[in-house]
């Protein structure tokens, strides 16, 4: 392997990239789109849930219960109801997601030491929001009850992300998703394209070796990937105010390993399938979608069934999400992240090996 030939392939690939300014622009526009959408359009915290209250007691205690709902920040009272018929209409018309019904003589019965039934009706048609609202309501009611005469108190402390701001969870994970996506898009087509256009035979006729082709094709894309990572990290830090508590050097080094793994996988897919149509589909299915749905980025891996949890072990983004969250929020280093790092190295080696192998068969 000579550096000169490697450099020649890399330069040719870079020139080709430069001549396609629209693809190049897209390589930066896409991560920006994702950051804007995830950063601004959605936040997974559910706040200001619309609450309707039917307070039949109208006492100091019942007002205290209602205000413990509103002061939590999770609920806002949109309506005070007067009759049981109002409860139905409030839910059916979608004016409230949740109706809290406080029975008559709430205060007196509470003082007597009765167990007072308090009813919560939920609109379950958006199961995700409803589940979260239900849990908030239960926690608030639980705390309200525990203040009235119970001695055992749960002291809850949240670490790493004290305000439970979902942006702090999403942005580090998003970096893993962005890199998977960019890697899939950039490299998946490079070799398939050469085959479709017939330039692969020309390349095969030159003295350039397969390792030089693979590495040479990898280099320019690693460059773009690195720029994307830097942009994403900077945006997370400066625009979205996500704390970066750990080592920037470690983040850079591990990102590079992940990038090599993901880009090599793209080259492998491209070389193995030889068709741009197939390669795009395969890249999408094996990198982007698993990174989005099976990496723990949004959906908890622990809650998945066993078979699926085993499948996630083969998703490199899963390890990288743990790494970015660890470095961003927990300020942990290699002493803690070594299993994930080893997994990434293994993925990089296997993917690069596969890329080289699939290439050999064709040139022979």
């Amino acid at each position: 392997m000579t550096f000169r030939r490697l450099w020649a392939v890399a330069r040719k690939e870079a020139t080709q990239l430069r001549r396609d300014p629209r693809s190049l622009a897209l390589a930066f526009a896409l991560p920006a789109t994702l950051l804007v959408l995830f950063g601004y359009a959605i936040s997974l915290d559910v706040r200001n849930i619309d609450l309707a209250v039917w307070d039949q007691s109208r006492s100091e205690a019942s007002r205290r219960l209602v205000s413990s709902f509103t002061s939590s920040g999770y609920f806002r009272v949109v309506e005070h109801l007067e009759a049981s018929a109002d409860v139905t209409t409030a839910l059916e018309r979608g004016r409230a997601l949740l109706v809290l019904t406080i029975p008559p003589e709430f205060e007196q019965r509470l003082a007597r030491g009765d167990r007072v039934p308090v009813q919560i009706l939920l609109d379950g048609s958006d199961a995700n929001t409803a589940t979260i609202a239900r849990n908030y309501a239960q926690a608030i009611a639980g705390r309200f009850a525990s203040r009235t005469g119970l001695l055992l108190e749960p002291r809850i402390r949240i670490w790493y992300n004290e305000t439970l701001d979902s942006r702090n969870m999403i942005v580090p994970g998003l970096i893993a998703v962005i890199m998977s996506m960019i890697a899939a898009m950039l490299t998946a087509l490079t070799i398939a394209r050469e085959w479709e256009r017939g330039t692969m035979e020309q390349l095969a006729a030159t003295p350039v070796r397969r390792s030089e082709v693979v590495l040479g094709k990898l280099l320019p894309y690693v460059g773009i990937g690195v720029l994307d990572v830097i942009a994403a990290v900077a945006a997370g830090r400066l625009v979205f105010d996500v704390p970066l508590r750990g080592s920037m050097v470690l983040l850079a080094a591990l990102s590079l390993i992940f990038l090599v793994a993901a880009l090599s996988w793209g080259i492998f897919v491209s070389a193995a399938l030889k068709s741009q149509l197939l390669a795009t589909q395969a890249a999408l299915l094996t990198t982007y979608l698993p990174a989005l749905l099976l990496s723990g980025f949004i959906f908890s891996i622990a809650a998945m069934p066993l078979v699926l949890r085993l499948i996630t072990l083969a998703v490199p983004a899963r390890y990288f999400v743990t790494i970015t969250r660890g470095i961003f929020l927990k300020d942990v280093g290699l002493a803690v992240l070594w299993p994930e790092t080893l997994a990434l190295v293994a993925f990089a080696v296997v993917a690069a090996g596969l890329a080289l192998r699939s290439f050999r068969k064709q040139l022979a």
Binding site: D20, R22, L26, A29, T33, L37, I42, L44, D45, V46, D114, P117, Q119, I120, S125, D126, A127, N128, A130, T131, R134, N135, A139, G142, F144, A145, S146, G149, L150, L151, L152, E153, P154, I158, W159, Y160, T163, N168, M169, M185, A188, R193, E196, L273, S275, Q276, L278, T280, Q281, L285, L289, L293, L294, I298, S300, A302, A303, L308, K330, V332
Partner: protein
């Protein structure tokens, strides 16, 4: 000018042969969606289960073990480790092995039995904020229930008896809500990937010029490209809907009068978007990337992950132009509530408008390309 159906069918036949002759493509078209539905159907859920719990029990009595059991029997928590040194708990949280840490103080039993105030400490990993939010709520409830039953004198009366009931979806089953979303996503993906490269590939290969010198009209060209993909998408939709109903047990209360037109319009829209992308791009690479540029917002701004009503107003307006949003509304309403055309006609109409507008733009682009070629 009338359409020549023979020419359209001829082109469709050629496209179908091109699409289906390769066994790998056949796998991608018909097997991949099934696998994906199974995987993502299980993955996409927002309720928690098996959250990793680490226990530091410094009391080590029957009472403290009972409290730990109270956590585990709910099914929300799984014990991943126990120790009597608080330092181990920090390590487990740092490494992400545990999400919730429960620390029981040494005087726990004595305090509970002698009616002294006591506190159990709960440490929650906020890095996974959605799990953490739900988990801390459950944890507080469990400790509260324990405290009530173990107070001296056989339990404290009083307190609140919270009765929660959910309407429209009594078990709050999130799968019934999320699987239709996965279906909409997979169908869009199929339509986009199969069509977004369709025109640009002919252009790269130079076969577009050959087609342009035949009597084939641009309209006929688009229709010929559309038909086979539409057929594939309909078959895929039927397969995965059947799977959703039989495997995941999603109730299918949908009247066909709603599902059929909505699905056909949705597929048409997906294909039109793909063709439009294809006419815009110069290379397949560019087409693939442009497809992503459309795909990402259409998933995120569809209400699939996150309720539209909670988005900033600007983004709420944007969702109106998103076909996935309208289809998702129809599919969810039809699956869960069995709602008829009366409540959903606006979404169906919106799908029609978006689809026709996109197809018209694609046609306009293709005419221009044909004119300049």
């Amino acid at each position: 000018m009338t359409l020549d159906w023979q020419r359209i069918l001829e082109l469709s036949r050629k496209e179908s042969v091109q699409l289906l002759r390769d066994v790998r493509t056949r796998m991608l078209i018909f097997v991949a969606p099934v696998i994906q539905l199974l995987m993502f159907g299980y993955a996409v859920r927002t309720d928690i289960a098996n959250t990793a719990l680490y226990v530091v029990d410094r009391d080590r009595t029957a009472e403290s073990r009972e409290l730990v059991d109270a956590f585990l029997t709910t099914g929300y928590f799984t014990l991943v480790g126990a120790s009597d040194r608080p330092g181990d708990l920090v390590g487990a949280l740092d490494a992400g092995r545990a999400v919730v840490g429960l620390e029981i103080p040494a005087d726990f039993t004595r305090a509970v039995q002698s009616a002294q105030p006591a506190a159990v400490q709960l440490l929650v990993d906020g890095a996974q904020s959605n799990t953490a939010t739900v988990a801390q709520g459950y944890a507080a409830l469990i400790v509260g229930a324990y405290a009530r039953t173990h107070a001296p004198g056989g339990g404290v009366p009083g307190g609140l008896d919270l009765r929660v009931r959910a309407w429209f979806n009594p078990t709050l089953e999130s799968r019934a809500y999320n699987v239709p979303g996965v279906i909409a996503l997979l169908i869009l993906l199929m339509c986009l990937t199969l069509t977004s490269l369709a025109v640009v590939r002919e252009r790269e290969f130079g076969t577009l010029d050959q087609l342009m010198v035949t009597p084939l009209q641009p309209r006929e060209f688009l229709l010929g490209k559309t038909l086979p993909v539409a057929l594939v998408a309909v078959v895929d939709l039927a397969i995965i809907t059947l799977l959703a109903v039989t495997w995941f047990g999603i109730p299918f209360r949908a009247p066909f009068l709603v599902m059929v037109p909505a699905s056909l319009l949705y597929i048409l829209t997906g294909i039109a978007l793909g063709l439009l992308i294809s006419t815009l791009a110069q290379t397949q690479q560019e087409a693939f990337m442009t497809m992503f540029l459309f795909l990402l917002p259409s998933i995120i701004l569809s209400g699939f992950f996150y309720p539209i009503t909670s988005m900033p107003v600007v983004f709420q307006w944007l969702t109106l132009a998103n076909p996935v949003r309208h289809y998702l509304t129809v599919v969810r309403a039809a699956f869960l509530r069995g709602e008829g055309l009366a409540g959903l006609w606006m979404d169906v109409a919106a799908l029609g408008v978006i689809g026709v507008a996109m197809m018209a733009t694609a046609l306009w682009r293709l005419r221009r390309a044909a004119g300049s070629a």
